[in-house]
Amino acid sequence: MSSLLVLPIILPFATAVIILLVKSNVKGSSNIALSSAVLQIIACGTIFYQVHRNGIFASQMGNWPAPFGITLVADHLSAVMVVITAVINLAVVAYSRADIGASLVKRGYYPLMQTLVGGICGAFLTGDLFNLYVWFEVMLIASFGLLVLGQDRNQLDGGVKYVVINLFSTLLLITGIGLLYGLTGTLNMADLHVKVQAIDNKGLLTAVAMLFMGAFGIKSALFPLFFWLPASYHTPPVSVSAIFAGLLTKVGVYALIRMFTLVFTVNVPYTHGVLIVVAALTMITGVLGAAAHNEFRRILSFHIISQVGYMILGLALNTTLALAGAVFYLIHHIIVKANLFLVSGVVQRLSGSFELSRIGGIYRRNGWIALCFFISAFSLAGFPPLSGFWAKMILIRASLEIHHYLVAGIAAAVGFLTVYSMTKIWGEVFWKPAPRADTVDEVSLAAGPSGWMMTPIAGLVILTVIIGFGAEAFVEIALQAAEELLHPEMYLKAVFGA
């Protein structure tokens, strides 16, 4: 059972190596990536099943006992996150088959993407702080490569901004890790939970907590550290945007949740108080930024920011229900947001542009894609009974329960503003008659969406609907994850053995 936890990490890396050997064979590369993605789902599903059935489990790499070696741990949160990662991986790999041209595949698209997925799974599963830093670096290098793959002018420009701020955030992270090691003498997260309680220098510990908040805040695009995201996410090919939008910022959110429930729990009024303010401002600025833009993927990028605010709100409120809301929000958001980016790619195929003013009449041309957008977009905005409604409802209820009326009001209002942006896209892209032919770029009007594009979109839409209608099961899982986060005894027991 202990080797099971290594699978979601090893599998993508092995796939990356194999594809690198055959990368001139475009079809073959895609087939290998697809089969690996299916295996990845099975492996991650098994981990989730084990966690759900037998509780948290850990495995010590190289058999070094707990605080000395690297530990991999799967609790409900980690398990859910790797399962979602595997789902998005499969969807994006299938979509890439139609979206990514032969030249990009030959330049190493699939190996980079698989490395990214391996890094993400590593970050979700590790129980060691320095190892988390290494996984962040793995993700970072792979995402740099993906972002500028093809070396379009836009991509290089967006890439510079993305790279600059992310490198800085990584240096903040390693500074925080160094100082925390100096304070406690350990890097194992479970051990840190025990050791930080005994630190006399509470002031320095809070300062270190803020360093971590800054580092992960940049990664997860929190206010006021989000400007790199809308500057870069709309530049790479759609498949890359989708996997970035779905997963990358969410690794930052996951790391924040992990660190601020397991390690930095000694000065909760201060750290979590800052998080509440940041979460509220993130929600507001993100949604207002989206309202001001008219490019399909840039609107969606700004919505990532506002949605991340909701998840951080769940963390900041620090109750079982609020954390469950954050976890549920993560599940819902990753699926819906990745899917909206995939839809934007199909729309670009049909109309030749991402600019709302140049698109129109998609509803007439392809009703199915309109339906897929409709369900995803209104799930994002929080229409009942779709998944986003439950996510928002849990969070708002959690904030009302502990009398945070202002943030509850903000969360509800931001939901309404999300509807505004989504109806803007809906009206401009799908309902409005197509603009006159001379304004449309004649890039790809002939090429309709292929089955490789529509199947993953439809699959993710069905998942959204399932999460919406079968919300109880997912809320149950989220509540269990929240319980484990707030009561780390189980986590410690799994890491250190009985």
Partner: protein, 131 residues
């Protein structure tokens, strides 16, 4: 000894932040390199500079004899140096390519991906490389 190192790290961080805040990307790279070295030195310092004896276990024992140097920070720094070196190499190439394409290293003028007016949008022909 730690105090001296702490002051040194502080000075390096201050210098690197000054360079990083510059609009010129070349200065940013120098700032980045300086900052990553400052962080490495910081990790080295927080691992305590108390002893210079290597942490070797004598033949007879199972643990090293008490005051020995802390080996872990050095392992961490080594990892950080390797990663930092790779990233720096990438950043150099990226900035060079961006300079070739955009024609400037002034970040204020790099607005290809984020035009201030929607009309300035330069349609991307390579996007996704259809087909």
């Amino acid at each position: 000894m730690e105090t001296v190192f702490a002051v040194l790290v502080g000075a390096m961080v201050a210098g690197s932040i000054y360079l990083i805040l510059d609009r010129n990307l070349i200065r940013f790279i120098f700032g980045l390199a300086l900052l990553s070295n400052a962080v490495n030195l910081l990790i080295f310092t927080v691992g305590r500079l108390s002893s210079s004896r290597p942490p070797l276990i004598p033949d007879a024992g199972t643990v090293p004899v008490a005051p020995v140097a802390n080996a872990l920070p050095q392992a961490l720094i080594l990892t950080a140096i390797v990663i930092g070196f790779a990233l720096l190499a990438f950043v150099f190439v990226l900035f060079y390519r961006a300079y070739q394409e955009v024609g400037t290293v002034d970040t204020e003028l790099m607005r290809v991906a984020e035009p201030s007016e929607p009309d300035e949008v330069i349609p991307s022909t390579k996007m996704g490389e259809q087909g």
